[in-house]
């Protein structure tokens, strides 16, 4: 299997695992799913990281983000069909809703005062919620520090 095909299969295995378990997988879980070795999958993870398809944690091994999903808890909790995921930011949280195309609830808080905020989505539309979204970083600088963005 060439690297391009392997990376495609890795990407799909990551997202399949995410959809079925609600969690981002480790390299060992992807390796098991694809019946390949851990080093092959770890190398694939690094290529996907370099290509801005995924973001690895500081250890260079574990996944931190597969946009719009976060592997670690964030202030952006998204519930779809009884399962919850974490978005990296409010845009990504809405992106998770857009991906699933199902009724959803985003539980979050105002970044300024920390008051709770609830957004609901029904029939592929925003059903309730108030507030505004602040894009601080200009688009060309998003990947300068994607964790901050």
């Amino acid at each position: 299997m060439d690297n391009a095909t392997l990376d495609l299969e890795t990407r799909r295995a990551i997202l399949d695992h995410l959809r079925t378990t609600g969690e981002l997988p480790g390299a060992d879980q992807v390796a098991q799913a694809l019946q390949l070795s851990n080093p092959e999958i770890e190398a694939s993870f690094r290529r996907l990281h370099d290509g801005h398809i995924i973001v690895l944690q500081e250890n260079g091994r574990d996944i931190l983000m597969v946009q719009p999903f976060s592997a670690v808890p964030t202030p952006f909790n998204v519930e779809v069909a009884g399962r919850t995921w974490w978005g990296n930011c409010i845009w990504d949280a809405m992106g998770i809703v857009a991906l699933f195309k199902q009724d959803a609830v985003i539980r979050t808080a105002c970044a300024d005062c920390n008051d709770s905020m609830l957004l609901t989505f029904e029939n592929n539309a925003l059903a309730s919620g108030e507030g505004v979204i602040h894009f601080e970083v200009p688009a060309r600088h998003w990947w300068d520090n994607i964790r901050f963005t």
Partner: protein, 72 residues
């Protein structure tokens, strides 16, 4: 990209943390942007990361034409 109760809270947050103010959007606008950006299933073998001109085209179709959204 953070959520705030109102633009006043954005202003307070920028002042408190000494951060520049970027662009502020309504929830409806944000939802439209999320659908345009993330609506395609990334398990699709045909999915690939957008090039800078392709991303700019998405922004343009959403009415995002200020220098803030320039990539090229």
């Amino acid at each position: 990209m953070l959520l705030f109760r109102s633009e006043e809270h954005v202003n307070e947050w920028c002042q408190l943390w000494n951060q520049p103010k970027g662009e502020v959007f309504s929830l409806e606008q944000g939802w439209g942007m999320a659908q345009a950006w993330y609506g395609q299933d990334r398990r699709d073998p045909a999915w690939r990361r957008r090039t800078a001109p392709e991303a700019e085209e998405v922004f343009k179709n959403l009415g995002l034409t200020s220098p803030f959204w320039k990539l090229t």
